[in-house]
Each structure stands twice: as C-alpha cells, then as structure tokens.
C-alpha cells in the first residue's frame, strides 16, 4: 500500500491517469474542473508526457481521437457544457472503437447552468449522448479513492473492450480534498495488444484504416452488430454495484456518486430510528445493474431513487423494478445538494410506516 496523500479531487484523478500509464492529455478549461487541466499542464512535462490546451472542446475531443488512433493511452476532462460540445467526437470515437477515457465533472444545467455539483448529465452519459447506437462504459465514483481507482479501471476497460470509458464525477468530488492512496507509477502505455489496428505507420505490413464509416448499409450494420456484441459482453462482465445495509432492508435507496455518499448517512439516520433501509449504489451507470435491483425489489416494499437531477437514473430504476413495488423519487436540481435530513423526511413521506 502506498502512502496516503491529501489531494483535491481533480488533481487526484489527473495523477491517477498519469500513474495508469497515460502521457497524453488534450483539454479546454472549464469550471469546476480547470484544476485538472492545470494539473496536467504542470505534471505531464515532468514525466515526458504531452499536454496540449486545445482551442475548444470540439478540437480537444478530436485530438483525443487522433492520439487514440495510434493506440496510445489518452484522456480528456471537461464539465457538462464542454462534454456536450464533445458529443460529436465521442460518437466518432465510439464508432471507430478507439480506447480513450473521458472525465465529466458534472455541473448544473441545462445551458450554461451553474458551476455547482449536479447529476443531470446521466442521460447524456449513459444513453449515448451523441448520434448513433453506441454506449460508453460509465463509472460513477462516490469517494476520491474510488475516483482514483476508477481512472485505472476506465483505461483498462477501454483497452479491453475498445469502448471509450467515461467517469461521471460531479463538482463536489472534483473540488473536495480527501486522503487517497495512489497506484504505482506505470510507464507510458501504448497497448501493444492493439498492434493489429493501431496507426503507427505501415512499414512492412498492409496499411490500417480506422473509421466509424461505411457507405454500404449492410456493412455498416455489420459494424453495428459488432458494437452491440461487445456491449452485451460488457454488460455480462463489468456491471458493478455496491449493496449497503441491504440484508434486512425493507426499503432500498438507489443513488450514485456524491448522492450515494449522502444516502449512506441517511441510511444510518433512518436505522437509528428503527427504519430498515438500505442502499443499492450503481458503480457502473452503464452497464446498469438492472438484475441486482430487480432481485432486491422482490423482497422490498419500495425502491426510492435520489439524484441531483429531475430524475434521470430513475427511468433505469423503474425499468429494473418493472412495477413490482412503488418507485418514488427525490431530487434537487440546479446544483443544489440535498441534505440527509431532507432526504430522510422525503423517505418518511413516501413510506407510510405502520
């Protein structure tokens, strides 16, 4: 175990990326994650890496595309409006099956919104975001340590499946400081396993072509069938969630990220009052833990979703529960973070305890 360091969320994630063997970063400043961009500009030259401040998020995501074409670990970070700008490029990256990592430090929206923590980009992150039938692998850390661990995991998953990975953090995770253990430093990672497709010059072999494109609909359908086949594999192998105090629970909360962390306090408060409440925390937002929630719902009286949004993950929770039990929702929007007390009150309103 490495020593514990007190680090800010954005910087901890940046350092974790470097330690995961990533030496390339392209980004554009946007609050509340500019410290990550700044950190990379300071740190990458120290490890013979490359930092480039792009002229826009549109350019940044396409620089990621270009670097990923060469089979080299690369990532970018942004916040909600910036991630919206990147969606075209993300769609191309997903279509071209380029391993790459995105961090979206989500802030209040829509539009310019504000710079406070929010979870209102769930649809964008998990349902595609850009055009076409594609998914990203979406990880939702709820502590800084988990965020650090997710950075390595995101790179590994992106490499394994050739599906881009997204870490959905929020302004709270990005801005707070917490003790973290960083992984061992890895050298620049050029995933040699991808030598059969990565563009590195065609000396001594046929030239490689990377696209998200085929003018022939039958061939494009074949490509799409390939994506879907991979997505089914990812669903089978990589669905992650945490069950918290669920053994004897009569009601389950479903929450992720910062909200899940707050819900753990709510669960403790409720249990102190004798209410048998637990939490199911999706760690991967895509693939979503439908089966786990469905199975749990069999034995529950209610599944209550809490988000810092108008209720986006709620739709997936309802797909999982399939009407077995009531599925109420509590959420705050616009960057307002719910307090444990108000969530507990909401629980009591929804759950008429005999």
């Amino acid at each position: 175990m490495n020593e514990q360091l007190m680090m800010k969320g954005t910087e901890a994630m940046g350092e974790a990326a470097i330690r995961a063997g990533c030496r390339l970063y392209f980004g554009y400043p946007i609050t509340p994650q500019s410290e990550l961009t700044e950190y990379m500009s300071r740190r990458l030259p120290e490890v013979e890496g490359t930092f480039l401040q792009a002229e826009s998020e549109v350019a940044a995501v396409n620089m990621v595309y270009g670097a990923a074409c060469t089979g080299t670990r690369v990532f970018t970070s942004t916040s909600s409006p910036g991630f919206s700008l990147m969606q075209e490029g993300v769609s191309y990256i997903a279509g071209a099956r380029l391993p790459s990592v995105f961090i979206n430090v989500v802030r209040g929206g829509p539009g310019l919104g504000d710079i406070q923590p929010a979870q209102s980009d769930y649809f964008q992150g998990t349902k595609g975001g850009g055009h076409g039938d594609y998914h990203l692998i979406v990880l939702a850390p709820s502590t800084l340590q988990e965020a650090v661990d997710h950075v390595s995991l995101a790179f590994d998953l992106a490499d394994t499946y050739r599906v881009p990975a997204l870490i959905m953090a929020d302004g709270l995770l990005g801005q707070m400081m917490e003790p973290v253990c960083l992984p061992e430093m890895k050298p620049r990672h050029d995933h040699e396993r991808h030598m059969h497709w990565a563009m590195r010059g065609s000396e001594g072999r046929e030239s490689y072509k990377i696209t998200s494109f085929d003018i022939d609909p039958v061939k494009l359908e074949e490509m799409n069938i390939g994506y879907q086949k991979t997505y089914r594999e990812v669903e089978k192998n990589e669905t992650r969630f945490e069950s918290y105090q669920m053994e004897d629970a009569q009601v389950a909360f479903v929450a992720y990220g910062t909200m899940a962390r707050i819900i753990k306090t709510v669960v403790q408060m409720a249990r102190a009052e004798g209410l048998r409440v637990g939490l199911i925390r999706p760690i991967t937002l895509w693939p979503f833990p439908y089966a786990a929630i469905r199975q749990a719902a069999e034995k529950l009286q209610m599944v209550m979703t809490v988000e810092m949004s108008a209720g986006q993950m709620l739709e997936d929770v309802r797909l999982a529960v399939e009407g077995r039990v009531p599925t109420p929702f509590y959420g705050r929007m616009g960057g307002v973070v719910p307090t444990p007390t108000e969530v507990l009150q909401a629980l009591k309103r929804e759950w008429e305890v005999e």
């Binding site: 490359t50 396409n62 595309y65 270009g66 670097a67 010059g201 072509k209």
Partner: protein, 251 residues
C-alpha cells in the same frame, strides 16, 4: 520488342479505384501526394486524415495508415496523432467546406500552433459531396444550389482567402497556392507539396498547400470547360503564389 516502364502507380497510392466523378482533379492531387511520399520515402511512416466531403474516401486511396475525421476536424485529429507519434509524418487532405467553413477554428489554431503536420487543401469553390452547395470560397455571383441567384456578397460575404488569412500566423512554415489547371501547374503543385512535407520533416512548423481545382459535375461544365472556367475566374480571385517559405531551397 522491349517494353520500358516510364510511369507506374506510386507505392503510396492504393490500387483501389477512385470514387471521383469523371474529370475530377482529386485523382491528380492524390497522385502528386503519393509521388512525393514515395520520393521522400515516407510511405511506411505516414498517417493521414481524410475529411468529410468528396474526398471522404481518401483514407482508402492512399496506401498509408489512415482515418477519416468528423467534418472540419481533420487538423485536430492530425494534431492528436502527431503529438502521440512525433516521429511519424502526418497529413490531412481537406476541401474548402471542411477546412474554411466548419473547420475554420481548427485550421487557424493548428496553423498558429505551428503544428508539425501538412495539409493539402483542395479549393474548388463548391460543396461537391452534398451536391453543389455554396462554399466559403464560392466566387461572387457564382450560382450554386444554395445561392441559386448567385453569391450575393452583401448577404453572405466574400470568398475566404485561406492562404492570405494564414499568412500572418507565425507558426506557418510553408504556404503556397497552386493549381492543377495545366501540366505546368501540376508540376508546380508537386514541387509545392514536396516542400510542404519537407517543412514537416524539418520540424519547421505547419505547412499547407492550397490547390485550386475544379468540379465539373457541380459546376455543370465538361472537364475541359471547367478547367478553362477555373483559369478565367478562380485564378483572378485566388492568385497563385508562395505566401510563406521557411524551407528555402530544397532538393
């Protein structure tokens, strides 16, 4: 009887049949680039980025590692490649809509950074792939499917002069406007393309060659007529010449 080979397909050009219309000059430009890559022995060390537009298939026509960027983003993609693999040669092939309309920001900033890549920019004053719409370089009064009464400069502005616009950026190492409108022009174009790649090899900065070309199909002219029309109209608006040359005398 002995046969002697005077000319053959450059190694950097793929055997694949072009998808271009009869009389289109993309094929000539492709061949010139391929000859230069062969002569500089760069074929196996080159990555290329095709645009969106008629030359969207260009990544298949060059026998080098290739990809196709989102519309307008070719130089950003190429930047990512070059930053990841500075040892390789990277070039983009872009049309006027791609480079000077939707991709203007990327064009200017790539040039300004002095990104060590090469761009071959085909200017034929029209959108070919989508069927002849107005381009940023469409001439004043020129009729297209989205300027059916002729380009009204009071309404939609003037043709953009890419070389003149980029000329003042210090990151640019080589910048020349050439044409493919006569055998002599074609030879001149090849020399310019070669210099552009040499600028990259020498690490001098960004290099771009603007190639004044034609579009017989969407101009509604025969190939021969379109060349004559271009000589008469395009060259007046887009005069040929060297705008930046930090390479100097190259072999």
């Amino acid at each position: 009887m002995q046969t002697k080979v005077h000319m053959k397909r450059p190694k950097s050009l793929h055997e694949k049949e072009f998808t271009y219309c009869p009389g289109c000059l993309h094929g000539v430009a492709h061949r010139l680039i391929s000859e230069v890559l062969d002569e500089l022995e760069l074929r196996g060390k080159t990555l290329m980025t095709a645009p969106v537009g008629c030359s969207v298939f260009a990544y298949e026509f060059f026998d080098v590692d290739g990809t196709v960027a989102a519309h307008g983003r070719a130089t950003a993609v190429a930047t990512g490649m070059k930053r990841a693999r500075p040892d390789l040669t990277v070039f983009t092939y872009q049309g006027d809509g791609d480079l000077a309309a939707i991709g203007t920001a990327e064009t200017i900033h790539t040039a300004n950074r002095g990104e060590k890549i090469t761009t071959i920019f085909i200017n034929n004053a029209i959108y070919g792939m989508t069927g002849g719409q107005m381009a940023p370089t469409t001439l004043e009064g020129m009729k297209t499917t989205t300027s059916p009464y002729g380009r009204d400069v009071n309404d939609v502005g003037y043709p953009i002069h890419v070389c003149e616009m980029l000329q003042g950026l210090k990151g640019v190492a080589f910048l020349q406007r050439v044409s493919l409108l006569s055998p002599r022009d074609i030879l001149q174009a090849k020399k310019a393309i070669k210099k552009a790649f040499i600028a990259q090899q020498k690490g001098l900065g960004y290099s771009l060659v603007e190639v004044v070309s034609t579009c017989p199909t969407n101009w509604g002219l025969s190939p021969v007529e379109s060349v004559e029309w271009a000589k008469k109209n395009m060259l007046e608006e887009f005069p040929l010449g060297v705008f930046v040359d930090k390479v100097g005398d190259a072999k």
